[in-house]
Amino acid sequence: MRILRFAAVAALVGAFALPAMAADEVIELPHQKWSFDGVFGTYDRAAAQRGFQVYKEVCSACHSMKEGYYRDLKGIGLDEKQIAAIAASVTIPIIGDDGQPAERPGLPADHFHSPFPNDNAARAANNGALPPDLSVMEKARVGGPDYIYALLTGFADPPAGFKMSDGMYYNKVFPGHQIKMPKPLSDGQVTYADGTPASTEQMAHDVATFLTYVANPEMEQRKRLGVKAILFLVLLTGVTYAVKRKVWANVHH
């Protein structure tokens, strides 16, 4: 993969230097099949909605996702009523008209509610570890959705002789193999509204789809526009080249 990418750049640009990628201890991340792969890939709405359910019922107990909005859920196929209801289920702290702390129900225009008021509170509740914000997690790790999937399905008993520190959990793909996140998913953890059996793999795949959506809500529009733009440019190149040939036809070398 790495080599391929090198080769691609080399071919593309006459090769000058290379994308910044390093990391010597390479952990294999098996590539999963994703609905959003490829030029015409889109988000599987049902999978993303199931993923949202996993996020809401499991991950959001510890992780914030503060760059996203409730209204973004429209992009995974929820309608305005559903979104308004989901948003209204959280309370947002505000300063009331009397200057005293107050609360109001969430609105679709609100950011996803964070479970903790600040990082210190999050650490205090998680054994000193800060659960990172999930808004752009998909873009923040090498491997993207494959990494998230492998992480969530990668919890296991440590191999014989592996020394675990206190409050750490063994994970096959997390750097150093010790993570402070307890295994969040186990079979049957959630009951899917659409009846899909909630195996760990299924939930991991669904939540990775959802997190990819949250990190790249523009992706479908981007690809659609890209196809049009490139078709147009290819056409323009053809026409321009034809004109060039015509203009140069009378030049003798």
Binding site: F16, A17, P19, A20, P132, A140, K223, L233, K244
Partner: protein, 421 residues
Amino acid sequence: MAGLHKSDFKNPVVNWIDTRLPVFTMMQKEYGVFPTPKNFNYFWNFGALAMVNLMIMIATGIFLAMNYTPHVTMAFDSVERIMRDVNYGWMLRYAHANGASMFFIVTYIHIFRGLYYGSYKAPRELLWMLGVVILLLMMATAFMGYVLPWGQMSYWGATVITNLFSAIPVVGDSIVTWLWGGFSVDNPTLNRFFSLHYLLPFVLVGVIFLHIAALHITGSNNPLGIDVKSEQDTLPFHPYYTIKDSVGICVYLIVFAVLVFFAPNFFSAPDNYIQANPLVTPAEIVPEWYFLPFYAILRSVPNKLGGVSMMFGAIAVLFVLPWLDTSPVRSAKFRPIYRILFWVLVVAVIALGMVGAHRPEGAWVTIGRLATLYYFLHFLVILPVLGKLERPLPLPESISRPVIGGGPLPAGATAKPMEKV
């Protein structure tokens, strides 16, 4: 001497303006009828591509700046806001980020074109040196731009690179504090980098203007590297090269569009999607790909001051290149040994790029040192000596008569000598 310009333009409005400010005449002279060697290959597109690229950077950058907040607590979020809430903000940002990579791809090809065809040689020395100034300005601009999204690589990259100045004896530490505006990379640093990142592209515009002004005094080099002898050798810039450049621009835009629409994070480090955190050092601090060869040179010298000097030296040798290369022949086409060594240099630079992307361990250290050694040998030893030893192939008599002893001159080829431009 003051006086109205006598304009030949028919359109009364154009004529009225041109009489008072002959910009139309100038454009006509410099881009319309400008005599340009007729034998350019497509490598001569890359200057125009760089120009287009700069305009794209300025255009997208101005709109990004309307929505960006240069503050350590808000910068990261403001970039995400651009991606999510600003109409086509994702396109602006992805175009600007990938535009920087495209800019370096295009400019590096442009530079290697110059190296291959000897475009740095007399009388184009100053033109070339202005090019090196452009490269330095581009690097400074790109470096400071990369700090703005305030991700982990922004922060730590800025820390590592600014810290290099501490290698300067005696005053080093004071210089670093002065650059930072404090005792670490922090809000004052971010603010000044934003200010300078906005300023430098316009300085670039100025230097590029001089670069092109100088080009229009010497005239362009060409793949044969020989001087233009007669009008027979040239074509008016328009329509011949306007259309040829347009073809290049179209292809360039296709590559650019593939990146922006289908692989927008191809060149970016995942770590930069993690907000800057002064307390957590990333496992690996890797600069953007276009700095990797220089980064590799820096790290292949065990001594900090030595490494920093070599890194800047790598660009300094380009600055004096016109005087290092002693061969009177420009184009590598007619320099059998230089032609090979040019490719050795290309390989060495690519190797340096790869070394820069890896931890300095094992074979990478050796490769890095060898490639660094070759880089400097190439410019400082080989080029000065080679020019004296190498036997160039016979040069063609003129561009329109490429092979010595070739066919008879076409009728009219002996026409009046080229007008002085």
